[in-house]
């Protein structure tokens, strides 16, 4: 009885807001607005690639994964240019629990996209309106001449399309933080660090390389448009790399390739 009362009290809006306020330093999302999108679906800002790559997206059908029946879902893919402008919409309707979608970007090279979902059926026991779906799914990269799919998770995001058809985000910029890469770089390999800006303000990023005493050896500044991206390249000679910005986590997606491109490793650092 007491347990049920505690659960009920915890589920009130006031309790949720208090909990998020208490833990706000560790929550990357804004506490308000509570219900920013009627579609009940927010997306990470994903990276795709078409220059010598195929990009495959593992699109989850959340209601099918938690129902007794297969539920029809419409997956919406919205492609963005490097400066954060919407360039193409694509949608697929399916019932599969995890649908492998081959992306068809309008441009050649590295690009961004978001994945939102919509349900029309009302007969499932859990209504989609009860659940805020957060799409952080796996993006797979297949390099030309390779047969394996290199999957990597979405990075920080929570992007959605507002009523006026403009992109919005529940991630904001706050205190300046420095993110350091936790990887032993391989000399001679090519590294491309893709940095995204999942916020609605311009983002400045300082890229620094360090020696053993943490003395700065290289420094580059990048400016990224809202919902845009930038790429920093390095050949693995720099042992310690850091990215400083006002994002909660300035964590790039990294493409690691050997000179002859026989080796590919895609990871979030």
């Amino acid at each position: 009885m007491l347990n049920k009362l505690i659960i009920k009290l915890k589920s009130t809006l006031l309790a949720q807001v208090c909990n998020e306020l208490f833990n706000r330093k560790t929550i990357p999302h804004k506490i308000f607005p509570r219900n920013p999108t009627s579609g009940r679906s927010v997306s990470d800002l994903f990276v795709g690639r078409s220059d010598g790559f195929e990009t495959i997206f593992a699109a989850e059908n959340v209601l099918t994964l938690l129902s007794d029946v297969e539920v029809e879902i419409t997956h919406k893919f919205i492609y963005l240019s490097n400066d954060g402008q919407i360039t193409k919409h694509e949608s697929v309707t399916t019932r599969e629990p995890i649908y492998l979608h081959q992306l068809n970007p309008p441009v050649e090279g590295i690009y961004l996209f978001i994945h939102l979902t919509e349900y029309s059926e009302k007969r499932n026991s859990i209504k989609s309106s009860q659940l805020y779906r957060q799409h952080r799914n796996l993006t797979g990269f297949v390099a030309t001449g390779h047969s394996l799919i290199n999957y990597v998770h979405g990075n920080i995001g929570a992007v959605y399309v507002a009523k006026n058809s403009r992109l919005k985000s529940i991630v904001g910029q706050s205190a300046t933080r420095t993110y350091s890469i936790q990887e032993k770089f391989i000399e001679g390999y090519q590294y491309e660090f893709v940095l995204c800006n999942p916020t609605s303000r311009n983002l400045k990023v300082k890229v620094s390389g360090f020696d053993k005493e943490l003395n700065e050896r290289i420094q580059t500044f990048l400016s990224i448009s809202p919902f845009g991206m930038a790429v920093f390249k390095n050949n693995g000679e720099q042992r310690l790399l850091s990215f400083t910005s006002r994002l909660p986590v300035t964590r790039p997606i990294v493409f690691e390739r050997s000179e002859n491109h026989s080796h590919l490793n895609v990871f979030h650092s």
Binding site: E20, L65, I126, L138, T176, Q182, F210
Partner: protein
Amino acid sequence: MSDYMYLPKISDDVESSLSITNVVTNSRGLSPVRAEFDLLILASKSGSQGWKVVRRIDFEGAEVKQLLSSDYSLEVGELIVVLPVDKSTKYLPELESIPIPKSRSMDSSLCSSRGSLRFHYGNSSSSFQSEYPTSMAQRHFGNMTSFRVPDKELDNDKTHLACFINLSNTENLKNKKFEIIVQDAKRQILDRLDFIENACTIYKVPLYLHKTQLTFTINGCVAIPLFVSLCTKPIKQITVEHSHPPVEMFWRQKSQRVGVGRIRQVWNAK
């Protein structure tokens, strides 16, 4: 918040390496900062409960240390546990339970410091950021539900492995037996295998199931699932990725509670 790291042996012809830096991953300020700690390397004592201290490593300045599975003569399914510890704390050569790792955070910034776990196969390698949260190792109960992304084709030259990492504080072990249940999208049970604690339990996905959407569940125990794929043609290659827990599919506490509750009800009932 503190985390363990692990270095598993997943196959005879696959080696692994773990890269750990003493530069704090994410912290407030314009420059990176260094955390002071040593690395303690532990191996599970075969045939009995408890842990053996294999090595202790300290850092010289800001650097990335790399540990190799080939240095520890591991059998397939065994793992080495790596944890940051206070520089001043002494440890006996044999321990009854795993010590609590030292936190490497400087402030409340998101994203704890982890290790980069890389699997090597031929000239190919694949990595991801790995950690095993202390809170998971101390749990007496829990469930695991993990949805595997199916392959696009049936290919004899490919091998798909699902690996389940578990670390349990040995004081929590009560000789309970757990199993991993393999189900298809219609919730038909296709396979069951014994789940091993403080180890890496490996399931080789049979060829006929490569294109099938599989769900792996454990009732009563927690684990971190890793999905590894290998191919021999046109060249030897390997890829790895971990899967997020179901809570990551939902946003805001209320949706998380309803959604995860429903997933446990649907998938962990058997």
